[in-house]
């Protein structure tokens, strides 16, 4: 019994030591980074973390910000809200970071951002695209990416105007806020423009077999002009592959979840005639110079091409924060927030970022990509005419 | 079937079929208060099945069981126990995580316990009840010479003591009818004789009616006023020990040459 008690006491003491062991940095600026490196969310977040680390490395190699090196202080969120909340508290209180960023999922953002706000520092989410997020954490929560309403509207307008689609089959992943919103906003804008939804079906994140959905679609009398499938990056390839294998040839459209090499790798020829809306054309040959540079640097650093769109978003988020600090002229959180809000036309690999007065969702153009001969090609740059209310 | 007045237990036409196999067939019984009945028969003759039907652990395929005039044929085991039928088991079934005392208390508390509110608030009435339960249980244990083991883990007792504890526990339920399933299995003769004596004592002290399943012939013969012999699920003989012992069917199917053997042995030893 006594030894047990002793173990507990020693453990507690060690905890306090480690917990309070934050080193005050004279010559570094500490930015808190929160991603889920393990657990169910890891496949979305890990590329973002890579991108962010790459950006920090580049910034530091170029002399840092305000003459200081940037240090990304990072915890694993473990895809668990309680852990994330604790980690955010550590970042704010123990590590005394000047800003925080991370996460690709609004749940996870919401577990961390209020803590940051309470401590008076901004939280920039690199990949959570819910346009409702900023309302939920006033003043301190920023998106580095466009809202889902924007890209869904862009997709719907492109479908009606360029693809001349009048009827659509809608398949939505019911397990993610991202896909739910995407589907909802697309439907809203598509119907608004006179289109019809012939059949709406759904699946759960991680489902591997879509034969029942496919059979149901094929049992439909009226064949839809196109398919809109709201899916996350881990599922898109599989879904497209299985629909194509079953002989569904109509155009398939989706959101930035499709922006992953897995789409072509998994679906192969099936990926032809797939359209999706995303931040920019991430192609080592056809992309902008910034994109080409990013892809090359990423490949060099991590020995793989960027896994999905989130890699670029993580990269841009760090660049965005660094830029704000530079413009603020100090690492004071208040000044950083002010500078961040004033960001205008900051170029990034996922498009230029501008925050309008009073809005914490950036204005970004939407890129529509078409998969052709196994590569992503630019179909159109769209600025939607009307965006559904968040 | 006619109903008899003053009968404690009336069983008519009781049958149980397992996958077409007749485990018990057309079993019947009239039991008067205070009686000690023995059921004997070869293994697999259906003795334990009768017990299990009687205590609700098995549902009969056919037939009826009335206990003190009430139909208990399809009642669940806990309800039957609450009506006053206690039993022990062929293989010992003590509560392994409990002490000897707790094992007995867990049976006693059926009749007397504190409500959930009193328990949660730790009212004085709760502690009074607990103390009374404990002292009554200790008393029960004393009767069987187990009082000094009250605080020990039940399963740490020697085998014979465990068997006795099971009987104490069944008694603590306060039953009218007690079913004992091979109470002396695995005991040597000294221990068996102790149990024999005990069964007589508790019968008198608690005004019990007892049904006994046993393989220990001398014990059954000495203890029981009436014996039923089962074979292949059917009653093949019924009567006083002397009648049963003399029944040629019984000798042939069950006792076999055992009696002769024992005579041989006596002859040899003598």
């Amino acid at each position: 019994m006594k030894t047990r008690l002793a173990i507990v006491l020693v453990a507690a003491a060690a905890l306090i030591l480690v917990g309070c062991g934050g080193k005050g940095g004279g010559n570094t600026i500490k930015i808190g980074m929160l991603f889920n490196m393990t657990g169910a969310q890891a496949s979305l977040d890990a590329p973002s973390a890579n991108g962010a680390n790459l950006a920090a490395k580049e910034i530091n190699a170029a002399g840092g910000v305000l003459g200081k090196q940037i240090k990304l202080v990072s915890f694993d969120g473990k895809s668990d809200a309680a852990t994330i909340g604790t980690a955010a508290t550590q970042l704010a209180q123990t590590e005394k970071v000047v800003a925080m960023f991370g996460f690709s999922d609004s749940d996870m953002v919401m577990a961390a951002a209020p803590t940051a706000a309470k401590a008076g520092i901004v939280f920039v989410t690199s990949g959570a695209t819910s346009p409702k997020l900023p309302d939920q954490v006033p003043d301190y929560l920023y998106l580095a990416c466009f809202g889902d309403n924007v890209q869904a509207a862009a997709g719907a307008e492109y479908a009606i105007n360029s693809l001349k689609a009048k009827t659509v089959y809608l398949l939505i992943d019911k397990g993610m806020e991202y896909t739910l919103l995407l589907g909802k906003y697309f439907k809203e804008r598509f119907v608004e423009q006179g289109g019809t939804v012939v059949l709406e079906d759904n699946y759960q994140t991680g489902d591997k077999d879509f034969s029942a959905q496919i059979t149901k679609l094929k049992g439909q009398k009226a064949k839809p002009d196109m398919l809109y499938i709201a899916a996350g990056p881990d599922d898109v390839g599989t879904i497209v592959k299985q629909f194509r294998d079953a002989g569904v040839k109509s155009p398939i459209m989706g959101g930035d979840g499709y922006d992953t090499p897995l789409l072509v790798q998994v679906a192969g020829k099936g990926a032809e005639n797939v359209y999706f809306t995303t931040h920019s054309l991430m192609d080592p040959k056809l992309g902008t110079d910034a994109v080409k540079k990013f892809i090359a640097a990423y490949q060099a650093e991590f020995k793989v091409p960027p896994e999905n769109a989130f890699a670029g978003l993580g990269y841009d988020t760090v660049k965005l924060l660094a830029d704000s600090i530079k413009r603020a002229g100090s690492a004071d959180p208040k000044a950083i927030r002010k500078a961040l809000q004033a960001t205008k036309d900051l170029p990034g690999v996922t498009g230029a970022i501008t925050y309008q007065e009073g809005s914490r969702i950036p204005q970004k153009g939407v890129t529509v990509i078409l998969v052709k001969d196994g590569t992503f090609t630019l179909a159109q740059e769209v600025v939607p005419q009307k965006v559904p209310q968040p | 079937m006619d109903r008899e007045e003053g009968c404690l237990l009336e069983i008519d036409d009781l049958s149980k079929t397992f996958k077409g196999l007749h485990a018990v067939e057309n079993y019947h019984l009239r039991l008067s208060p205070g009686e000690i009945l023995g059921i004997i028969g070869p293994n697999g003759a259906g003795k334990s099945t009768v017990f299990n039907l009687l205590t609700g652990h098995l549902r009969p395929t056919r037939g009826s069981i009335r206990f003190r005039g009430q139909d208990i044929t399809r009642l669940p085991p806990d309800r039957i126990a609450a009506l006053g039928i206690g039993r022990t088991f062929q293989n010992i079934r003590l509560f392994a995580s409990m002490t000897v005392l707790e094992n007995v208390v867990s049976a006693r508390q059926l009749k007397e316990r504190s409500g959930i509110i009193a328990t949660l608030l730790s009212w004085p009435s709760f502690h009074r009840t607990e103390q009374r339960l404990a002292s009554e249980a200790t008393e029960n244990l004393g009767l069987f010479g187990l009082a000094d083991r009250a605080g020990k883990a039940a399963t740490s007792l020697p085998y014979g003591d465990q068997r006795r504890l099971e009987i104490v526990r069944a008694l603590a339920l306060g039953p009218t009818l007690l079913l004992l399933d091979e109470p002396t299995a695995g005991m040597n003769n000294q221990e068996s004789m102790f149990v024999l004596d005990l069964i007589r004592r508790i019968r008198d002290q608690y005004k019990l009616t007892i049904i006994l399943v046993e393989h220990n012939m001398p014990l059954v013969m000495q203890l029981c006023e009436r014996i039923q012999v089962l074979n292949y699920g059917q009653i093949i003989a019924e009567g006083t020990p002397e009648q049963v012992r003399a029944d040629p069917k019984v000798v042939e199917s069950y006792l076999g040459r055992a009696m002769e053997d024992s005579k041989d042995a006596e002859a040899r030893n003598g």
Partner: protein
């Protein structure tokens, strides 16, 4: 004499409450948010694990689905406490009579617990008839069903979307009052006729039935009480985290609670507390350590996932070497410890 035994009975709880209050007071006043968070998490986990013990430990009904009750408690309480203006935005399809409700924390928590209990009663009526691994499977099924319903019942839960804006009502104090209450209740039940029924049914169902113990009823009692407390913990958790979605209440959470329970020792109330404390503190330590650190010139890179791996290995080691958990179903004898302390003090005084 009677008076003095009564008093004696009161000493251990009184000492414990005083000690707990002192620790909490110190944490509240002195410690930073980080430590306070850990203390709150430990408190909530104590409720979860101790109440799970009531079902899984006392009755042997090994439920894998208790996180479902936690989810029910979290959602029910949050719907009740969500401020009216947020309800209009976040839950526009809520029935009218709920739209205008924004309850204080305590009644919302109690109602949430009761709802969890009612659900437990409804599913328990049939589930409690099963045994062994099958009951684990069926409760796992229950968890999946809860999960599916939460994801699809948009009107009340916002579906898979984040349920946000829950007021941060949970404090060290209300969490630990509930935790102390839970431990007390579980301990009282364990030492009563109800607890003996439960253990009897666990140890030997057939014998218990033959002694008039209604096995299903006593299991159901444990299951329902346990569900109530788990629902309460869900409410506390929700008002601590303040935003969540159905996936917060799934297997990962289920396994973590069960791990604490088993490491502490099934059937031991003090074991539950010890298990929670050890695992929470240890995983916190490992989580900090896996980020990598420098020892002198040696630089260890971060290895995310290492903490989970170490916890898994530790768990297997405990099961192999201490199969019954650290407490092995026994309890810490507080009265005995107090007596010993008293004796040693007296001894010293005499010397």
């Amino acid at each position: 004499m009677a008076m003095s035994t009564r008093l004696q009975r009161l000493i251990p709880p009184a000492v414990m409450i005083a000690a707990l209050a002192a620790i909490l007071g110190a944490t509240d006043l002195v410690a930073g948010d980080y430590l306070q968070r850990i203390v709150i998490i430990i408190g909530i986990n104590v409720i979860l694990v101790a109440s799970l013990n009531l079902s899984n430990g006392f009755t042997g009904v090994f439920s894998l689905g208790h996180v479902g009750f936690m989810a029910i408690g979290a959602y029910a309480a949050s719907i009740l406490t969500l401020p009216v203006h947020l309800k209009a935005v976040n839950l526009p399809d809520l029935p009218g009579w709920l739209q205008g409700v924004a309850m204080p924390f305590l009644p919302a928590t109690l109602i949430a617990g009761l709802i969890a209990m009612l659900v437990a009663f409804a599913v328990g009526l049939s589930l409690m008839r099963l045994n062994g691994a099958y009951i684990s499977v069926a409760t796992l099924g229950f968890l999946v069903i809860v999960q599916v319903v939460l994801v699809n019942w948009d009107q009340f839960t916002r579906g898979a979307r984040t349920f946000a804006g829950v007021p941060a009502y949970a404090t060290i104090w209300n969490v630990w009052i509930w935790a102390a209450l839970t431990v007390y209740v579980v301990w009282r039940i364990g030492a009563s006729a109800f607890g003996r029924d439960m253990r009897a049914a666990r140890d030997n169902e057939i014998a218990a039935l033959s002694l008039g113990v209604s096995v299903i009823r006593s299991r159901l009692l444990a299951f329902c009480m346990s569900a109530f407390l788990t629902g309460v913990a869900g409410s506390l958790w929700a008002h601590f985290i303040t935003s969540f979605s159905p996936k917060s209440f799934f297997f990962t959470q289920a396994f973590s609670i069960i791990t604490m329970l088993v490491i502490g020792g099934l059937g031991s109330v003090s074991g539950s507390v010890i298990g929670v404390f050890l695992i929470t503190v240890l995983s916190e330590l490992l989580r900090n350590a896996e980020r990598g650190f420098d020892i002198g010139a040696l630089h260890l890179p971060p290895i995310y996932g290492a903490s989970q791996i170490l916890m898994a290995v530790l768990f297997v080691l405990v099961i192999v070497f201490k199969p019954a958990g650290l407490m092995g179903g026994r309890e810490i004898d507080i009265r005995g410890i107090l007596r010993r302390i008293g004796a040693s003090r007296r001894g010293k005084g005499a010397a």
